[in-house]
């Protein structure tokens, strides 16, 4: 614990002489920063994906939970009468807040994306749709179906559960997948830093031998490497996060449409999460470097 404390102290309190002990290795440093930048960039996207799909799942659940649809198919001359009867039934059903038949314009609007603009909807024998808004307690769909079967055999009640459930599940999974991706990116960053540290330690074997010979403690040698990698990772991560945030901000999309592709963005407080990316990645680098350096140094005299 005290070793960790002294390593942390050494990280923040610079020692010019000690930092110079490890030769500047432009190549490794640049690669470390670049990898950290790429990782931070990916984390931004994973975060955006995760939060967008989470929001989508929430929206779908809320919007669809409150509504249901009743479809009436009947010969044209009986249609209006059946719709009126259906609305009567619905208004006396406990758990139904309101029921409203969609106008033919609204029905056309719903069908246009699927069938195109030139279809003469008014000439088609379309069933009529009744939108049901439920009270928070909801109605009993089985009971309503039984009642409708008696009076309006052609009515089909759709409470959206059938297709809502898999969609919400898929969106939730997508959100979890985003979090898993962030975890994997963190692990990969750690592994990358360990490899880079091992390479740096191997390349500086002579420096380490000399330092041990003149009485340097492991903490001193570790600090020289840890500081370098944590710092490089931080710089890279800041860069990657800024670029990632810029790209996400510029992502074309409309708030209105709750679709996964158009909703790939962060909103409000979610932007604050990005601030955590550079310190988190550099903490991973800090721990990974310490771990790798510790293992290598233990093998030396």
């Amino acid at each position: 614990m005290s070793a960790l404390f002294s390593a942390l102290a050494a990280l923040f309190v610079g020692d010019l002489q000690r930092d110079r002990v490890v030769p500047a290795s432009g190549y490794t440093s640049t690669l470390t920063s670049l990898t950290a930048a790429a990782m931070a960039f990916l984390v931004v996207f994973a975060l955006a994906l995760s939060s967008a799909s989470y929001r989508l799942a929430q929206n779908w659940s809320e919007a669809l939970e409150q509504s249901a649809t009743l479809r009436i198919s009947a010969p044209v001359e009986q249609l209006d009468a059946q719709v009126a009867r259906a609305i009567e039934i619905l208004e006396t059903t406990p758990g139904v807040a309101s029921a409203r038949a969609l106008s033919s314009e609204e029905q056309s609007d719903l069908l246009t994306p699927w069938l195109g603009v030139d279809v003469p909807f008014d000439k088609l024998p379309l069933p009529r749709l009744i939108e049901i808004v439920q009270t928070p307690d909801g109605f009993d769909p089985q009971g309503l179906r039984l009642r409708l079967t008696g009076e309006l055999p052609s009515a089909v009640l759709d409470d959206h559960v059938r297709w809502r459930r898999p969609l919400v599940q898929a969106a939730n999974w997508l959100s979890v997948l985003g979090v898993v991706a962030i975890g994997l990116i963190g692990m990969t960053s750690g592994a990358m830093i360990i490899l880079a540290t091992r390479a740096a330690l191997a390349a500086n074997a002579q420096v380490i031998t000399v330092l041990r010979l003149i009485g340097a403690t492991d903490a001193y040698i570790e600090a020289a490497f840890v500081r370098r990698f944590a710092f490089r990772t931080f710089i890279g991560a800041v860069l990657g996060t800024i670029i990632g945030a810029g790209v996400v901000a510029l992502f074309p999309g409309e708030e209105e449409q709750a679709a996964i592709l158009t909703g790939l963005r962060l909103s409000g407080v979610e932007w604050m999460w990005l601030v955590l990316i550079p310190p988190t990645l550099s903490s991973i680098a800090f721990s990974a470097t310490r771990y790798a350096a510790n293992r290598v140094l233990k093998g030396l005299t």
Binding site: Q17, V21, Q206, L213, D218, T301
Partner: protein, 247 residues
């Protein structure tokens, strides 16, 4: 001049080493490597201020012996104590701390090649957290003492063999250690430079430092014996023997 360089160091040494405490004690020490015994049954007590030569044929184990003295190797059996502390009980940090009291000069001394000679010599101070050099020792005077004032800003790869040895010696003593261990310090240099290095080591000994030099250079040993009461140890048949006066 030498007196003023290390006079502070001498005072420190008196406080550090408990009076009369032996600096290196070996009791039936053996070192085995790969199943075979390289050194066996070595017992010896080195007192503060002593001057020792360690001689013997190549491969006899002189370097192994010195490595045990600065805990680069630990004995495989027997007890070895440095400043009264058993090396078997030493953790890695203890080893680092004890090395600050032991100056080591190798035949092929290594430096940190991207730091200047002056920085390399001062490195032990930085490593031990003494960044205020002036309080401890005057780096300039030390450089002058080993005759490297004009090479202070040179990089180690630019130094000649003799200059490297003297730089290593300066680095070994900047912490004012209690012991100076030198492994074939004159192996790569001509006779004149050997004499010069020997003079520096003799001077350190006169200031109270314990000096142990591994060397198979008999003329160097003879030259030293004429100036100091040096004891000569010989490693032969895996054992340590006190050599007679017939050198």
């Amino acid at each position: 001049m030498s007196d003023c360089i290390l006079c502070g160091a001498q005072a420190q040494q008196v406080s550090d080493v408990k009076s009369g405490a032996d600096v290196i004690e070996l009791d039936a020490v053996a070192y085995s490597y790969g199943g075979g015994e390289l050194l066996s049954d070595m017992s010896l007590t080195i007192t503060p201020g002593a001057f020792y030569f360690l001689t013997g044929p190549s491969g006899a184990g002189k370097t192994t012996f010195l490595k045990m003295c600065y805990v680069a190797l630990k004995p495989t059996s027997g007890a070895l104590k440095l400043f009264g502390q058993d090396v078997r009980t030493m953790e890695r940090n203890d080893i680092a701390l004890v090395r600050r009291r032991i100056g080591v000069v190798h035949q092929d001394c290594q430096f940190i090649d991207h730091l200047s000679v002056a920085d390399n010599i001062a490195l032990p101070l930085s490593v031990s957290g003494q960044n205020n050099w002036d309080d401890t020792i005057n780096l300039k005077e030390l450089l002058a003492w080993v005759g490297l004032s004009h090479r202070a800003n040179a990089m180690p790869p630019e130094l000649s063999g003799g200059e490297r040895q003297r730089a290593a010696l300066a680095r070994a003593i900047i912490m004012s250690p209690d012991i100076v261990l030198a492994d074939e310090p004159t192996g790569n240099v001509d006779w004149e430079m050997s004499e010069r290095l020997l003079r520096l080591l003799l001077e350190l000994n006169r200031m109270g430092k314990t000096v142990v030099i591994a060397s198979h250079d008999l003329s160097l040993i003879r030259s030293a014996k004429s100036q100091v009461q040096a004891r000569v140890l010989r490693i032969a048949n895996k054992r340590l023997q006190l050599a007679g006066a017939n050198l």
